[in-house]
Amino acid sequence: MSSLELTNISKRFGAVSVFQGLSLTIAAGEFVAFLGPSGCGKSTLLRIIAGLERADSGEIRLGDQRIDTLAPGARGVAMVFQHYALYPHMTVRENIAFGLRNGGAPKAEIAERVAEAARVLEIGPLLDKKPGTLSGGERQRVAIGRAIVKQPRLFLFDEPLANLDAALRTRTRLELAQLRRRVRATMIMVTHDQVEAMTLADRVVVMNQGEIQQVGTPMQIYDRPANTFVAGFVGSPRMTLAPVGLVPGDARFATVRLGDGSQVSTRVPRADLPSEGLLLGLRPECVRLGPPRPGEPTAQVEFIERLGDRTLVYVKLGDGTAVTAEDKGASQAQVGQTVGLRLAAAAAHLFGPDGRGHHAAGRAG
């Protein structure tokens, strides 16, 4: 269990620059998720940490040791590959023992540690099978077994759940969470799935185009997105981002005017808020439907998604601004209907023209 410190990592593939001076610190024992869209550099960063890819510049420290100069096998890092990368011709036992054998561990110790890993992961009955005969979930466990048997200081998971079907994914997610409590090590997981990141990680590193957008606990990321990218990427369905104007005044909190003229009194402090080019951010659960009322925005229902326990209602304001609202499961809303929007204005976010987020005072974070 060691802390990880990335300093000024830069990496380019030919003409394509992936990272320019990326820095990040992960505490010992922390479970961190790299979250971002495909192609943003999550895997590359993981591979740089593992030593499978060389950074052009920068430094990596694991605990008090500099590891970017070491061979991959000497870094005390174990990785679970997206497609597991089990050795097809070896039995599960041989797969798990391979790393220990290369390290020259005594036979008795290898057997003991393999048995221990098999016990933790409940794969004892699979030990003499070949990977080809295992199901996806079983392969996943074996891949994890191959990692934990080395007792690494740092675990790396590349999209660990991406190859599993929906039912298995939920179960494996729970198992990963449990594994995490049993195996005390620093862990990094790469994922493009926000639910995985939010449910598993202590902290989430949101990335886009090779740059870290925000680092924070799942609730910080959700409640106080640092910028419009994070606001849009985390949360499903997406947060509504509507252009608004700032209503002049000297109250402590900003009041903004939507395109159709209706006003929203946020709890975002007016101080150091830019006066132009603002976007109002509203999560769907902060927009409810009701009969139209004076002083509240009214909108036309464009499209309805019934999810069973709740209903997503996509509406348009008078000026055409699109807003996503949430209604109860047995929603009465109908396409074409005119509805009133009840905004939970206290939970509204504002984003400046630079994309930076401004949040209600005193909320979690």
């Binding site: 030593g51 096998g73 790393g99 191959r146």
Partner: protein
């Protein structure tokens, strides 16, 4: 999916018409073989008169006795075995190493070198045989085992096959092994090479058969009877006019020369079926 899926022969999945077609094809294939074996069991003088005498007795092993009576025949079998096995293992070793290098290692001139290997595929033996003969003469390699083996070791097809096969193995396996602390040699030897076994079997079998059946180069290079391979030796005992020694004798020679191949087939039957069916089952 994998070759492990290939079991024994099965008639399931054939329609009656399909079955009849396959049976007919098999009959067409086996008839000349049976004909050859049949003729080899007949006394030569009877065949001189009429080859249809093959359908009735008398049968005899006289032709085989005549072959074995030739004192050199076991020497030739031995020579063929040495040459074919050496060629096969040499080709496997060189092709695997070269294939690994082309597929996995970064080095200057890799592309150019690979193209050069591929060009080797396009050059027929006939085009180089005189130069090769001169070279081996200069090196005093004629009538030696190296003289018979070395030309067969340049196997551009083997290098090509193994390169493609190594390329087909996910690099993630190498990377997993690197993280498992494996050296490059360990990765090659313990992780990748075992996975190329199907290709090794294919290449090995075809190399062995080609080497065993090769006639031209041994005919040119081995001029001393003690260095003949079986093909050359058998042919040499036919003298100028094949018929003088009799049709039955000729056929017995053909059968005799193919017995080792049959043994190889029996030993590696499974692998051969997979090798031939490989393209379909992978």
């Amino acid at each position: 999916m994998t070759a492990a899926g290939v079991k024994g022969p099965s008639l399931a999945g054939f329609t009656p018409a399909g079955l009849a077609g396959v049976a007919l094809a098999a009959a067409v294939m086996i008839t000349p073989l049976l004909w050859t074996v049949g003729l080899s069991l007949k006394p030569n003088f009877e065949l001189m008169r009429d080859t249809s005498s093959v359908f009735g007795p008398p049968y005899t092993l006289e032709n085989y006795r005549a072959i074995l009576a030739n004192s050199n025949v076991f020497r030739w079998v031995f020579n063929s075995t040495v040459v074919s096995l050496s060629t096969t293992f040499g080709v496997l070793a060189l092709s695997s190493l070269a294939g690994y290098a082309f597929a996995r290692l970064e080095f200057r001139g890799r592309r150019a070198l690979f193209v050069a290997v591929l060009l080797g595929l396009a050059i027929p033996e006939q085009a180089v045989i005189i130069a090769r003969h001169q070279m081996f003469s200069a090196l005093h390699l004629h009538n030696t085992y190296p003289g018979l083996i070395l030309p067969g070791l340049s196997a551009p097809f083997g290098v090509f096959l193994m390169t493609q096969y190594f390329r087909g193995i996910p690099v993630e396996l190498d990377e997993a092994a690197l993280l498992d602390g494996a050296s490059h040699f360990t990765i090659f030897w313990k992780v990748l090479l075992p996975l190329t076994l199907p290709a090794q079997a294919t290449l090995g079998i075809f190399t062995f058969l080609a080497s065993w059946n090769d006639y031209w180069w041994p005919l040119i290079s081995a001029t001393r009877s003690s260095m003949f391979t079986l093909t050359v030796g058998v042919a040499s005992s036919q003298m100028n006019f094949a018929q003088t020694s009799g049709l039955g004798y000729l056929m017995a020679q053909a059968v005799f020369a193919s017995v080792p191949i049959l043994i190889v087939y029996a030993l590696f039957q499974q692998h051969i079926v997979r090798a031939v069916a490989g393209a379909a089952t992978r």
